[in-house]
Subunit: 184 residues, 2 copies
DNA sequence: CGCTCCATGTAACTGGTTACATGATTCC
DNA sequence: GGAATCATGTAACCAGTTACATGGAGCG
């Protein structure tokens, strides 16, 4: 049982999903390709942490829709009780930022301008998602889903994504102010 | 040539370091173990991107101090010209946050309290480092190292680390407000 | 006609971690 | 006496990516 396996279980603890759905939903929080997910799911099935049902579709390929078992929920609970290991961030831009001065400012600027675009797209998506789940959870304006609500987890995560995104935009914008413009 | 190799080159572009030093310095920005770094360094040496000098020490083991070559600087420059790939963050706490409601609030709180401690320690370290490099760079108060300054890269990175750290502290603190206290 | 989306799977490879191995010094 | 730091290296393993494989539906 690795972290990815628990990631799959935690998504399945909220809804029934296919391997393909799991891959898409997990992307923002624990990136993984389908080639890693499918074998893991069949392991989880062997261990009786999940079950699946073959769902035939007409205009799309058939799919396996997975459901978490009581045993699966139990191992999630156990996993939640041990402290989370340290977060790991790997960002090429940070290494590139360290040796900016080896190339001319125009090239440096490009790096940060395109990263800014990346974050702006993310920001928009996160904002859409957060209003969407707040609507679904049915809370009043300014309120937060309760501890028992199945939407609390998603709301907490999206809030983190939003906050980090904004901070990164701030950082990139600041860096662009520090890099001299081309016409200077 | 993978990202880690460029990470080593970028550190060596600023100073002469041993494999051990490189490992320690790289940790905050691209975590890697010595077992990954030593073989990479000997590859870089074969490709003539770096050279090394055996330095004998009396009270510590001897070491290999590496120096970047012109060829190494050139490949760094080339690498800087291609856009940085997307950043990857993997954080178990995010997955755990998603299924908080399966355990009782006391257990949830523990997760975020210990993560807060983690970030507070990081914050302190980053603050020390940033004042240290600003002092070394010799800029006046409120000023920023120039584009040509060898300290600009480190300053930009530390600023990002600081900003992210503060945002994460803010997030954890907010989450702890959302999780009901034990005596409620 | 090629591209993307949906959907599943395996094989080969690269990246990263853990463990094995050695050995002196310093600190508790 | 045991642990931590410095310093280098290899071997075995696990995690993650890329590529191979198949195939229908819908879009431009």
């Amino acid at each position: 049982m690795n972290t990815l396996a628990y990631g799959l279980l935690s998504l399945l603890s909220h809804s029934h999903l296919s391997g393909y759905d799991l891959m898409l939903k997990l992307q923002p929080f624990w990136p993984a390709k389908h080639s890693q997910i499918y074998p893991l799911l069949s392991n989880l099935e062997k261990e009786e942490q999940v079950t699946f049902e073959l769902v035939a579709q007409t205009d799309k390929p058939d799919k396996k829709v997975y459901t978490i078992t009581e045993k699966g929920i139990d191992s999630l609970r156990e996993w939640l009780s041990v402290p989370a290991s340290d977060p790991v961030l790997r960002d090429e831009l940070m290494i590139k930022a360290y040796c900016l001065s080896f190339v001319d400012p125009a090239i440096s600027r490009k790096l940060f301008v395109s990263r800014l675009e990346y974050y702006h797209i993310k920001l928009q998506r996160y904002e859409e998602k957060i209003t969407h789940i707040l609507k679904k959870s049915g809370v009043n304006e300014g309120e937060i889903p309760s501890y028992q609500s199945p939407y609390l987890g998603a709301y907490i995560l999206l809030n983190k994504a939003l906050m980090s995104c904004k901070t990164n935009i701030e950082w990139c914008t600041w860096v662009l102010k520090v890099i001299p413009a081309d016409n200077e």
